[in-house]
């Protein structure tokens, strides 16, 4: 593959140089002409045609990208607010693509149609208040719609009401891994500060705070489906960002303050694995990895791990140092019973300190 691409680059480059040579030769021949380095009728004709071809290229590129690459879009959201997000995104993209297609057409078509010709008179057309008004007011109306829709959704997401049975989880960021702290039976997170960090108490939970005794610190994030989760985010060193793309959730993690975000997961890990989208995706990736593994094995290196089961993930999305690209945590969405079973196997803060 690499060799093939390098070859393409070399060939394209050669073609480019050949073409340039030709054009350069032409330009030398032309120099006796009246216009020198100013565009003449022939230049106008050629470049006007190229404008049309460029427009075709641009439309082709857009079409190709939507046709082949829109499969990379994230699957339908796995959170309650996510469907509103997806809806707004769909409307916005549809809208901007309509504008894009029309304006790019006008721009390039006019560039072609009104190419300079000898003796052609341009129209002296300096102003038209009506037109200006029209294309001020149309964006105003459209944007007003988008703003209103957007702001309602935004305030729904950010100014969430706390459900009675909401689960409180702290996401704790340290270079370069994530930890989760569950609030335990009392559903209240104990106080914490980096100044309490010592030995096994890696999150700096205040040992004297009663609320913290039943807190549970884990390496994986398990979430019961259909139950609101309130994330409290805390960092011990630099800025991080907790990004959970499948849940349309992201919030920066800021040392010195607690930020928060909330969503309700709606699709379990088991369920999303079974969707056509994910099955297809896993098949494609598995094939790619098999291909690559063959190459690797041939070169005497170990093959890649299998990747046939999808897991939700949380990743770091704010540059935090050398291994920023490798800072992630597995998320598992499961039924309430499975979640309870799992949390019982985890040690509370009290128990782990006592050890």
């Amino acid at each position: 593959m690499t060799v093939f691409l390098v070859l393409i680059v070399i060939i394209l480059f050669a073609v480019a140089i050949w073409q340039m040579n030709k054009i350069y030769a032409l330009s030398k021949g032309n120099s006796s002409g009246e216009s020198g380095e100013v565009a003449n009728g022939k230049d106008n004709r050629i470049n006007a045609k190229l404008m049309v071809m460029f427009m075709v290229f641009l439309y082709f590129l857009m079409f190709y990208c939507f046709w082949h690459y829109s499969k990379f879009y994230l699957p339908e959201a796995s959170s309650a607010h996510g469907s509103k997000y997806d809806n707004l995104m769909f409307i916005s993209i549809a809208l901007i693509m309509v504008v894009q297609i029309i304006t790019q057409f006008l721009l390039h078509f006019f560039a072609y149609k009104y190419k300079g010709k000898k003796g052609q008179r341009a129209l002296f057309y300096a102003d038209n208040d009506k037109l200006e008004f029209i294309w001020t007011i149309i964006p105003v109306i459209v944007l007003a719609g988008l703003i209103i829709y957007g702001l309602f959704t935004w305030s729904d997401i950010m100014n969430f009401d706390e459900d009675e049975d909401a689960l409180v989880v702290e996401l704790y960021a340290q270079r370069f891994n994530w930890k989760a702290r569950y609030a335990g039976e009392d559903n209240i997170l104990g106080d914490a500060n980096v100044r309490f960090i010592e030995g096994i108490n890696q999150l700096g939970i205040d040992p004297s705070d009663v609320d913290g005794q039943d807190d549970v610190v884990t390496q994986e994030l398990h979430l019961p489906v259909g139950r609101q989760v309130i994330f409290k985010l805390r960092s011990q060193d630099v800025l991080h960002s907790a990004y959970m793309p499948h849940f349309r959730a992201q919030m920066n993690v800021v040392p010195g303050m607690i930020t928060q975000f909330s969503f309700t997961p709606t699709v379990t890990t088991e369920e999303i694995r079974k969707t056509d989208y994910m099955q297809e995706k896993m098949r494609t990736i598995q094939e790619i990895r098999k291909e690559k593994s063959k190459e690797l094995v041939a070169a005497g290196e170990p093959a890649l791990d299998d990747y046939d089961e999808f897991d939700y993930y949380l990743l770091c999305n704010k540059i935090c140092g050398e291994s920023h690209y490798n800072m992630q945590m597995k998320i598992i969405v499961e039924s309430q019973e499975d979640y309870e079973k799992w949390i019982k196997t985890q040690k509370t803060f009290e128990a782990s300190v006592a050890q």
Binding site: D43, N47, T103, L146, Q236, T259, R289
Partner: protein, 608 residues
């Protein structure tokens, strides 16, 4: 040749007496002549651009072929590429310095510095800037900051690597990333000097435009280029000092133990004493400049394209007053939208709502500008000079990139595309590529003015434009889609996420397109250098333009005009204006009426 010019000046121009004798040093190095300073800005900017683009090719190669060994890495990165494999920390440095260089050194100084200096005195009819000396100091401070930035590349622990936004604590603590030591110090020093340079330049531009316009040159007779440079300078004066204060506070946090941006940090096995600071404060200060900066970069490009499009369409720019109003509206709004970079920073969600509102408002003047450009082309007589092509290209990328801004400016939608490749695609199209096109349009258009009538080869210009136009769309359009897949930016490699494996081909395609696009810039470089020495001399007014700079002689003299400065009697956009009987142009047989031509008998008077 200099003797000849001096003789001429002595004969005709009483204003040019201070120009008697020029040594090499006063003429080419410590020159106070705005035309020479503009060339110095351009050439320094182009060199920095060359470095910045080369860096992007290096890290694009790493993204396309992760952890592959390349000899080219070994050659350029040395110890940072053991066995030719790029090190993750130098990847972050490359990304950081690429951003810094392109935004500040190429698109701020190289674009605005070059053309403000060249065009403000020439187009308003002034002999030079208000203060030639400050102008010279401004350039040399810029040069100094560029040298310091480049020297930071050779620091033992590596150049700054915290992203061009240098958010603390990462940028404040060498414990977090070794590049935040000496490399970061040099970055901050370089930027502080750069800001001083930018302020001196901006103040000079503003004073010159306000005070030194020639007789008859009212504000509503200024070419849109000057309006753009003028307003850009004002935005710079308002916002750059805030970045300086952010940099100063960061320097104090780094070196003097203060806690403006730091609090509750445990790093390297110990707790730092800092408490009470907030990184969010830095984000506010940074983006208070950072967002207007986008318009500092873009407005000059739009100003240049307004002028180039009108001239080459042989038509007045459509909606001159609406264009000025849009520039002013954009400038005002640009200072109150910075929070849209911080929707998920942890600031109050209500603030997010306010910033969404102001951000989407800014789309309105931008849309007006785009429509006005398109209408200017309508029923024109388009002369397809390379500058014109780049200007049309600018409108195209400005629309494409601007539209995705509607998604990013919406706080809700930003949640999931924030800091992904979607953002990278968006801002590269709307400010990177668009502003570069503006820069190229300006160079092709005003090259004859800079180099005493010599012109760039148009055919090489065509090759340069078309390959660049195709290449940059091929690089940045597909990038939206990998962003929509949730791929974060600034990742050294995606191998840790098998989920992203199917994006590898797209990444490869993007890199190949980037290499081709970068390679074709060498054509421009060749054209530029060879035309300086061997370019064909064109006529005095090659593009048949109305503005004042084309009334000067080809030969540069200090003071610009031999004899009196011409007076101005009309706006600069009387292209293809007909006489009252509509039998012929105002000046028979000539489709343009320079600003220096008084109102003709058989001519309808317009508002300007």
């Amino acid at each position: 040749m200099s003797a000849n010019a001096t003789a001429l000046e002595h004969a005709h121009d009483d204003h040019a007496h201070h120009d008697h004798h020029q040594t090499f040093i006063t003429k080419y190095i410590f020159s106070t002549d705005h035309k020479m300073i503009s060339k110095q800005y351009l050439i320094t900017g182009l060199i920095m651009g060359f470095i910045g683009i080369a860096m992007s090719i290096l890290f694009r190669m790493q993204l396309a072929w992760p952890e592959k060994s390349f000899t080219i890495f070994e050659v350029f990165l040395g110890k940072w590429a053991p066995d030719g494999v790029m090190d993750p920390s130098i990847y972050l440095s490359l990304v950081t310095i690429h951003g810094t260089i392109m935004v500040f050194f190429v698109l701020t100084a190289g674009l605005s510095g070059t053309f403000s200096n060249l065009l403000i005195p020439l187009q308003i009819g002034a002999r030079d800037m208000a203060s030639g000396f400050l102008n010279m100091v401004s350039y040399w401070l810029f040069f100094l900051s560029a040298v310091i930035m480049c020297s930071s590349l050779f620091v033992e622990a590596g150049p700054a690597a915290a992203g061009w936004t240098i958010y603390p604590p990462l940028s404040a603590l060498p414990e977090s990333i070794s590049a935040s030591g000496a490399g970061m110090t040099l970055w901050l020093v370089s930027m502080a000097i750069f800001i001083a340079s930018s302020l001196l330049g901006s103040l000079n531009y503003v004073v010159t435009v306000i005070n030194m316009r020639t007789k008859g040159m009212s504000m509503t007779r200024l070419p849109l280029t000057i309006w753009a440079f003028f307003v850009t300078a004002i935005i710079g004066i308002v916002s750059f000092p805030v970045l300086l204060s952010a940099a100063l506070l960061l320097i104090m946090d780094r070196s003097f133990g203060t806690s403006f941006f730091l609090s509750d940090i445990y790093i390297g096995g110990e707790v730092l004493h800092n408490s009470g600071g907030s990184p969010v404060l830095f984000e506010h200060l940074f983006w208070f400049l950072g967002h207007p900066e986008v318009y500092i970069v873009l407005l000059p490009a739009l100003g240049i394209s307004s002028e180039v499009i009108a001239t080459n369409a042989r038509k007045p720019i459509f909606g001159y007053r609406a264009m000025i109003a849009s520039i002013l509206a954009i400038a005002f709004l640009s200072t109150i939208v910075w929070g849209h970079h911080m929707f998920v920073s942890g600031m109050n969600p209500f603030l997010g709502s306010v910033f969404t509102f102001t951000t989407l408002l800014i789309a309105i003047p931008s849309a007006v500008k785009a429509f006005n450009y398109i209408t200017t082309l309508w029923k024109g007589n388009l002369q397809m000079n390379p500058a014109m092509l780049f200007s049309i290209g600018l409108v195209s990328t400005f629309i494409t990139g601007g539209l995705t801004g509607i998604i990013l400016g919406d706080s809700t939608l930003d949640i999931n595309v924030h800091d992904t490749y979607f953002v990278v695609a968006h801002f590269h199209l709307v400010m990177g590529i668009s502003a570069l096109y503006g820069l190229f349009a300006g160079v092709y258009h005003w090259f004859p003015k800079m180099f005493e009538g010599k012109m760039l080869n148009k055919n090489l210009g065509y090759v340069h434009f078309w390959v660049t136009a195709i290449g940059s769309y091929a690089v940045f359009f597909p990038m939206h889609f990998i962003g929509m897949a949730g791929l974060p930016r600034r990742y050294y490699s995606n191998t840790a996420f098998p989920y992203f494996d199917d994006l590898a081909d797209v990444n490869m395609m993007i890199t190949v397109a980037a290499i081709i696009t970068a390679a074709v810039q060498l054509v421009f470089l060749y054209n530029f250098i060879s035309s300086i020495f061997y370019g064909k001399k064109g006529p005095k007014n090659p593009w048949k333009s109305n503005t004042l700079e084309w009334t000067t002689e080809l030969k540069h003299i200090h003071g610009n005009w031999v004899g009196e400065i011409p007076s101005v009697y009309r706006w600069p956009y009387d292209y293809s204006k007909l006489n009252e009987d509509e039998t012929d142009y105002v000046i028979a047989g000539q489709d343009f009426v320079p600003q220096t031509v008084p109102l003709q008998e058989n001519e309808e008077e317009m508002n300007h």
